[in-house]
């Protein structure tokens, strides 16, 4: 994994790497905290996959392999920053404080969102590829007008990078010098499409053509992701303008539970990347450098287990919404067709709801 361009602070074996531009500012407790985040997210993700297999979720989009990218980025955020995710940013949602059961409301098909985006400063899940990048830029333009020292951060994938919206977001961010960080998780696949179909050169280069910095970071190295993201956010908050971060990582699992990756990629590739596991890497560091005990790791595992059980319970308890709720929040102000629809539904006896 020798790549001149890649910012890396830890080898896949968990050994420190010298980097002329970035150094880790994290202490052992913080790193252990990141480890805990990653373990919990992975466990919750696995639980969600089983829930889906058992027919309890309509769909699940696994995050396995991308935990370091998401936790490194998520932990670099300041509370007042605002994040704009896709459908796979469970690790970011976790860092923003979104309760896990909220993350699953979309996948249980009981909500088109799932959490209060204003409360957690973490926007709604975005399924139409790339749209959210423009929302982030607009939000960042709002930050500028408020004179606030805050940043917006947009997440997207290697596949989404080919959408016009994402590139318009680059144009605008550069034009207005907006306080926004673009965080592209290049997990090398967009469903069955390899990232080389989107770009033959590393994606972070794209930023340079728009006039702002692009950085490629080892997305399986939580220390590196953290430092790179933190610097980009710090810069954005004080008028330094946008940065594109390409977190070079890998989607270990299927695109979603509906997908069958054996149809389009070979096991050997997955195996190679399993050896670059982001969780094991930081665990190795914790063992060697910080002498963290097995008992501590076990403690995290146990905590994750408990959370997974709680998540399962919460999901099972999410019942089918009253159909009449489909009329809620379609509009903010009264609307005759909404009233008409509600009335019809009640008349038909489909809902026991009231007008």
């Amino acid at each position: 994994m020798i790549d001149e361009e890649l910012v890396q602070l830890l080898t896949p074996e968990g050994e420190r790497v010298e980097n002329s531009e970035y150094e880790s500012t994290l202490n052992g407790d913080e790193i252990f905290g990141f480890y805990r985040d990653m373990v919990i997210i992975r466990r919750l993700c696995n639980e969600s996959t089983s829930l889906q297999r058992q027919g309890q979720l309509a769909l699940w989009a696994p995050v396995q392999g991308q935990e370091a990218a998401q936790i490194g980025a998520g932990r670099a955020l300041a509370p007042m920053d605002f994040t704009f995710p896709t459908y796979r940013e469970h690790g970011i949602a976790w860092c923003r404080g979104v309760p896990p059961e909220n993350m699953l409301r979309l996948f249980r098909a009981v909500s088109n969102g799932g959490w209060d985006p204003q409360k957690y400063r973490h926007s709604v899940p975005t399924v139409v590829l790339g749209s959210q990048t423009l929302h982030a830029v607009g939000y960042a333009m709002g930050i500028q007008r408020d004179g606030a020292e805050e940043a917006a951060m947009a997440f997207f994938g290697d596949g989404a990078s080919s959408q016009g919206d994402v590139m318009e977001a680059f144009v605008w961010a550069a034009s207005f010098n907006a306080p926004v960080v673009f965080f592209c998780q290049n997990n090398q696949w967009g469903i069955s499409t390899p990232s080389t179909v989107q770009s033959k050169i590393p994606l972070y280069h794209r930023a340079h053509g728009f006039g702002f910095p692009g950085v490629r970071v080892d997305g399986n190295d939580v220390l590196a992701v953290y430092e790179v993201t933190k610097r980009a956010l710090d810069s954005a908050r004080v008028g330094g303008g946008p940065t594109l971060i390409e977190a070079y990582t890998y989607r270990i699992g299927a695109h979603t539970t509906s997908d069958d990756p054996t149809r389009y990629r070979i096991d050997a590739e997955v195996e190679v990347w399993k050896h670059r596991d982001p969780v094991e890497r930081v665990k190795a560091l914790l063992v060697h450098e910080y002498k963290v005990k097995n008992a501590d790791f076990d403690g995290v595992a146990a905590e994750a287990e408990t959370m997974a059980l709680k998540l399962r319970e919460d999901v099972l308890a999410m019942s089918r919404p009253d159909p009449i709720t489909m009329f809620d929040n379609a509009y903010a102000a009264p609307h005759p067709l909404i009233e008409e629809g509600r009335r019809e539904m009640i008349d038909l006896g489909i809902s026991g709801g009231e007008l």
Partner: protein, 327 residues
């Protein structure tokens, strides 16, 4: 207090007043700053409110609307100018999948308060893409509201009402009427934003129109009056939702309805009005409702646009058909 001004000026004044009232209101669009917009609707506003509130944007409509979404999340109220109707389609995805659905997706946490201003319809002898009627697309889309002004007074008030409204509004401006003058009442709005109004009373036929077609409808009504047919002209003002109640009341009186629109008739506002009215006023109907529409062709070269757009003659022909239906 009333004063006379063009629709363009009325919109300009309406925007100014909205910006004075609420510091969260900002304007975004192509060439709206120093140039004042290609139609000068935003003339002078950048000078008075600054570049942060009257934003000359890069040339990307999807981004104009997409960033307005982000601004709405942050509590701003963006008024986006789309330079011409035919250039709104690059923003269609943001409008239909984001603007229209984010309030719902956020379970009410986000308000998508924004206005998307579109100079629409034809009649100015322009080249292709400058004369279209995209309102049926937006009316079909749940989560949006669509309105259109036909007089300077409505322009002045409806733009302000739209900006104050908490749902996203597609604001259709009949560009060929920008330079026509009318009385503007600076003190109180003529009616609610979603109310239709009777522009001329009549007893034989209900003639429904919006935007530029309202004036054509009124002209047709005048001509018809000379020939002895009494036409009631209704300006829908709101295109979605439709104020069907008012239209039904009129139809119950007249028993005949003609709808005028510049868009082709398939799955149009006219189709909607005719379907709804047929359902509500079936027993009052003396003839089936007729739509007078643009033809089902790409907007033609404008040397022949007046034969594409519903003309007084075509409206009167439709009136004759509903009047003569029994025979």
């Amino acid at each position: 207090m009333t004063t006379t001004m063009t629709m363009a000026k009325a919109l300009n004044e309406g925007l100014r007043r909205a910006m004075e009232k609420d510091p969260k209101v900002l304007l975004m669009g192509e060439d709206i700053g120093r140039l004042g917009g290609v139609f000068r609707i935003t003339d002078g506003l950048q000078k008075d409110f600054g570049e942060d509130r009257v934003v000359d944007t890069p040339l990307s409509e999807s981004a104009i609307v997409g960033t307005a979404v982000g601004l709405a999340i942050r509590g701003y109220r963006a008024v986006c100018e789309i330079q011409f109707d035919g250039f709104v389609y690059p923003a269609f995805d943001q409008i239909v999948s984001q603007v229209a659905k984010m309030h719902k997706r956020s379970d009410g946490a986000y308000k998508m308060a924004m206005v998307i201003r579109i100079p629409f319809q034809g009649g100015i002898g322009a080249i292709e893409h400058h004369s279209e009627s995209p309102e049926p697309y937006f009316a079909q889309t749940a989560g949006l509201r669509v309105v259109s002004c036909s007089t300077p007074n409505d322009a002045y008030w409806m733009i302000q009402q739209s900006i104050e409204h908490d749902d996203p509004i597609i604001f259709c401006e009949p560009k060929c009427r920008y330079w026509e003058k009318g009385e503007v009442d600076l003190e109180s709005p003529p009616s609610g934003l979603f109310d239709a109004v009777v522009r001329r009373e009549g007893t034989d036929v209900t003639l429904i129109a919006y935007g530029a077609s309202v004036k054509t409808a009124l002209r047709a009504a005048e001509t018809a009056a000379v020939e002895g047919t009494s036409i009631e002209v209704i300006d829908t003002r709101s295109i979605a939702p439709l104020d069907i109640g008012l239209m039904a009341k009129s139809l119950e009186k007249t028993g005949r309805v003609v709808v005028v629109q510049e868009s082709p008739h398939t799955a149009s506002i006219g189709s909607e009005i005719v379907s709804e009215l047929t359902q509500r006023c079936f027993y009052s109907l003396k003839a089936p409702g007729i739509r007078v529409s643009g033809y089902h062709v790409p907007y033609p070269p404008t040397r022949i646009e007046e034969d594409y757009r519903p003309s007084v003659d075509r409206i009167l022909d439709a009136v004759d058909r509903v009047m003569g239906f029994e025979s």
